[in-house]
């Protein structure tokens, strides 16, 4: 039979080789297209079959898991009786059920417990955590940390964070500097949430960048996590070689109004990178650093446009009134529209007797376009 098949293939090849070239190419394309379609359809069918099996298993197991959590945690008779958590015991027989030995069920159990923990805190939240530990599910999560697949590592990190299980520095710190951006972000977020004493320790070893989206996520976590130990971020501004870390620290310094960081931030004004300088100027403005005003005005003429605009904005935020004349001259004599606009905004932002008089005077002496700029800046509905 095999011999016949091989003969047939040979004959087909011989006939194929006799065909003109463009027909050969066309046939090759047809063959590849049919093969690709078959592979694609098989893959789709296989995935759908797996999803179907998963849903079927879920539909069977999920109610059982929810019932178990309800009985053991939500309806636990010891809840609300002022019994210490460590003295509350679960039903051994239920927990040692054969069903809970299967990896698939255990994963489902972890996912369900996490969903409950997102909804409940206090005694119920603590009891859910105890159930997670007593059933040995933390070992499953730690097991996932050892795999090579990054998506499983992320899952493990998220599970342990949600269940408030501390992860040793030896395990998590290398992940905070992983070359994989998703894993790196998950590990950094977990480190901030889990580390009680030094949640920003990974800043010391971070060589990989902190991406803008990760900064947003991290900022949300830092500002919403309770009892987080906030350090003086000037430490990294002075010593870190990671530009994205320094830039993020500048934002945190401004957010937490760390006045003691002003000297360190001012040192950045001599940095070669103008984006860095712009961030530092922005931070000084938000800190209302009056001590930096003279230096900002002094370096103004040597700066690129983005830094000049930041300086004008910073002077408006600091609003000491010492440099109103400087702002006025920039407004009157600069040829750049953005400069004039920001200078006008900063004068108005002073909101003092002098600044108001200056605005009135400018309205009288300046040309139509500048008057329009002032009117625009005076509009309270346009936020600055």
């Amino acid at each position: 039979m095999w011999k016949d098949l091989i003969d047939l293939l040979f004959q087909a090849y011989e006939q194929f080789s006799l065909l003109p070239l463009f027909i050969e190419i066309a046939l090759a394309f047809i063959f590849i297209a049919i093969l690709s379609t078959l592979v694609a359809y098989s893959a789709i069918l296989y995935k759908r079959y797996r999803a179907y099996i998963y849903d079927k298993r879920m539909a069977y197991i999920s109610p059982k898991i929810e019932d178990m959590i309800t009985d053991q945690v939500l309806l636990n008779p010891n809840l609300g009786m002022d019994i210490p958590l460590e003295n509350i015991e679960f039903d051994e027989q239920t927990l040692s059920d054969k069903m809970y030995r299967k990896p698939f069920v255990r994963q489902m159990l972890i996912d369900t417990l996490i969903s409950y923990r997102k909804n409940f805190r206090g005694e119920v939240g603590d009891l859910l955590r105890k159930l997670y530990i007593d059933m040995g599910l933390e070992k499953d999560s730690f097991g996932k940390m050892k795999t090579l697949r990054w998506e499983r590592k992320i899952k493990a990190v998220v599970e342990l964070t949600q269940m408030d299980i501390s992860i040793s520095d030896v395990t998590i710190l290398p992940l905070t500097n992983s070359s994989n951006p998703a894993l790196r972000a998950a590990a950094r977020n977990a480190y901030i949430q889990l580390s009680k004493n030094e949640p920003f320790k990974f800043f010391d070893i971070a060589t990989e960048p902190l991406l803008p989206w990760d900064q947003l996520e991290m900022f949300k976590i830092i500002t919403t996590t309770k009892d987080i130990a906030i350090p003086n971020f000037s430490r990294w501004v002075s010593y870190s070689t990671n530009k994205s870390i320094v830039s993020f620290c500048l934002k945190l310094i401004a957010h937490y109004d760390q006045q003691s960081a002003i000297p360190a931030v001012m040192d950045l004004l001599a940095n070669k990178d103008h984006y860095f300088r712009a961030d530092a100027i922005n931070c000084l403005g938000k800190l209302s650093a009056e001590v930096a005003e003279d230096k900002l005005v002094k370096i103004y003429n040597n700066q690129p446009l983005n830094c000049q605009i930041e300086i004008l904005q910073a002077l408006g935020r600091i609003a000491s009134g010492k440099h109103l004349e400087f702002l006025k001259s920039e407004f009157l004599y600069s040829s750049n529209f953005d400069i004039r606009m920001n200078a006008a905004r900063s004068i108005i932002k002073h909101n003092t007797q002098n600044s108001r008089l200056m605005v009135e005077e400018l309205m009288e002496v300046t040309d139509d376009e500048n008057q329009l700029i002032i009117k625009h800046c005076l509009n309270p509905l346009i936020k600055y």
């Binding site: 309800t70 309806l75 809840l79 609300g80 969903s115 909804n119 409940f120 206090g122």
Partner: protein, 133 residues
């Protein structure tokens, strides 16, 4: 015993709240979205409504607003449970007439106490109205 309507689109949370309140002896009815909630509110009377905010068809604020604008259902106590914790949403919920607001994750004990308090306040105010009459 008081009857409570729990409106929540998350199955796990719905079941959990139902079990917690049921344990305390309340009669619990559930709805998975705003539309189902409106149907149930039309046909039954409840003492308290516990509602989520983000739901399909009609959100929790619409439920609060509809209950407060209906003369016959104005007396129902409303507790909002939501993961939304911004000032505008919370004040908007209270402005529309919610009696209480709990931010997720919640404490089961706290929910029970707030419901008991809400019911006892309603009882004492209704007794006061009867006495005045």
């Amino acid at each position: 015993m008081a009857s409570i309507l729990v409106i929540e689109d998350d199955d796990i949370m719905l079941k959990a709240v139902r079990n917690i309140l049921g344990k305390d002896g309340y009669t619990i009815l559930t709805a998975k979205d705003g539309k189902e909630a409106f149907d149930k509110l039309e046909n039954e009377t409840y003492d308290v409504v516990v509602t989520d905010l983000m739901m399909p068809y009609a959100n929790g604020l619409e439920v609060v607003s509809r209950l407060r604008s209906d003369e016959t259902k104005r007396h129902i106590g409303i507790i909002v449970i939501s993961s939304v914790g911004n000032e505008e949403t919370i004040t908007e919920a209270f402005r529309l007439g919610a009696d209480d607001y709990l931010k997720k994750p919640i404490m089961a004990g706290e929910l029970l106490i707030r419901i008991r308090k809400l019911l006892s306040n309603k009882n004492s105010s209704s007794q006061l109205v009867t006495r005045k009459k």
